[in-house]
């Protein structure tokens, strides 16, 4: 401690200097504060955009979720109020998208449960059909509780769940149409 005190006393004492302000005067201080506010808001917008991007990717293949935030008009340097509008709109959009995904996740979970019970007891879920879309997945697969051997199975109570083979294959263009011509 004595060394530290000696070192401090040896250092020339300079009066406190405020950071240089461009142009001087109160207006420039406001400008500096505004710039800091804009920088902060831009950082917040960046973080929110990252979260929205993650949510967008995790939401796939679900359709019908609104992702647009709306433009405030540009390209130009936005002021604090406009950046706040963008930030707030992102917060609202993120909240809405999360809520919508949460709501859909509950429905999808219930549908997964339904598939399990359909498989366990197909006769208790006659003609029930659940598609991949209902459980938040891509492709056209679906589970369908149907009678085995058609009408005979219907009368005898032989029910089973059929899993479809997926999306129809794309129609071939070349050879068949060429033959047709």
């Amino acid at each position: 401690m004595p060394e530290l005190r000696a070192h401090e006393s040896a250092r020339p004492r300079t009066p406190f200097q405020a950071p240089p302000v461009l142009g001087g005067g109160g207006g420039s201080t406001t400008e500096t504060a505004d710039r800091q506010a804009r920088d902060d808001l831009r950082r917040q917008i960046g973080a929110l955009e990252r979260k929205l991007g993650e949510l967008f990717a995790s939401a796939f293949p679900r359709q019908g979720i609104e992702w647009r935030v709306g433009a405030v008009g540009g390209p130009r340097v936005l002021g604090v109020a406009e950046l706040e509008r963008v930030r707030d709109a992102l917060v609202v959009r993120l909240g809405d998208a999360q809520a919508e995904l949460g709501r859909r996740a509950d429905v999808e979970e219930a549908n997964r449960g339904l598939i399990e019970s359909m498989i366990a007891e197909p006769e208790r879920h006659r003609w029930v059909k659940v598609s991949n879309e209902d459980i938040g997945e891509a492709e056209c697969r679906h589970w369908h509780s149907r009678p085995k051997w058609g009408i005979l199975g219907m009368f005898l109570g032989w029910w089973r769940v059929k899993l479809s083979s997926g999306c129809p294959l794309p129609r071939g263009g070349g050879p068949s149409s060429a033959i047709g011509q």
Partner: protein
């Protein structure tokens, strides 16, 4: 402007203070557009095969597209309404099932943007005066071919005489590349989060394809 290493464009001082990382790099290539040779079309086809839907969905996770999306928001654009260049191309790929070959320049830009994710565009080098850069438009300034004046402060890519295009927007009439263009200036707009090496790579990729 001369062919060689990509040149650094000017940036208005007020933009340098506001947007750290914003930059324009450009390179003049001694040729215009034209028909794409078979090799370029093959390359485009190969690129289409390499790029699938999952990549399009995950693009927002990638640092460079994310950086452009954030910058769009910073300048008042909504990247879901006015897509960033790489997402616009990805959407086109999804809609048409592949990247369509249009002409040599467009194909070169497509290849370079998709490979590097960097925003690129091109102008007629003989119609540009002096250095190119990014600045806000002055009061009373317009964009050729567009009725009326630009709102003062609109961000533009400009030469030393006039705006050539809106930043990430429309090109002024007569400043873009047309069939009679002999020299093309390839411009890359970098924003914070886009590494210099990616910007250079984008310009070199496009120049390489253009020069054959």
């Amino acid at each position: 402007m001369s062919e060689g290493a990509p040149e650094a464009g000017y940036l208005a001082p007020e933009l340098r203070e506001e947007f750290a990382g914003l930059a324009l790099r450009y390179l003049v290539v001694e040729r215009g557009s034209g028909r794409s040779p078979r090799e370029v079309k093959d390359r485009l086809r190969e690129l289409s095969n390499r790029f699938a839907g999952a990549q399009a969905i995950n693009m927002r996770h990638q640092p460079i597209p994310w950086a452009y999306r954030v910058f769009f928001r910073h300048i008042g654009l909504d990247p879901d309404e006015q897509l960033i260049p790489v997402e616009a191309l990805a959407l086109e790929r999804m809609k048409h099932g592949g990247f369509k070959s249009r002409n040599l320049l467009d194909d070169a830009l497509t290849i370079a943007i998709m490979e590097s994710r960097v925003a690129l565009r091109a102008f007629d080098a003989d119609k540009a005066t002096g250095r190119l850069g990014i600045r806000p438009s002055a009061a009373g300034e317009g964009l050729e071919g567009r009725p009326g004046e630009l709102p003062a402060g609109t961000l533009v890519i400009a030469d030393e005489a006039r705006p050539l295009a809106l930043l990430f927007g429309a090109t002024a009439d007569g400043r873009g590349v047309h069939p009679k263009t002999r020299r093309t200036v390839l411009c890359a707009v970098a924003v914070a989060g886009v590494p210099d090496i990616a910007v250079e790579e984008a310009i070199w990729l496009a120049a390489d394809v253009l020069q054959g």
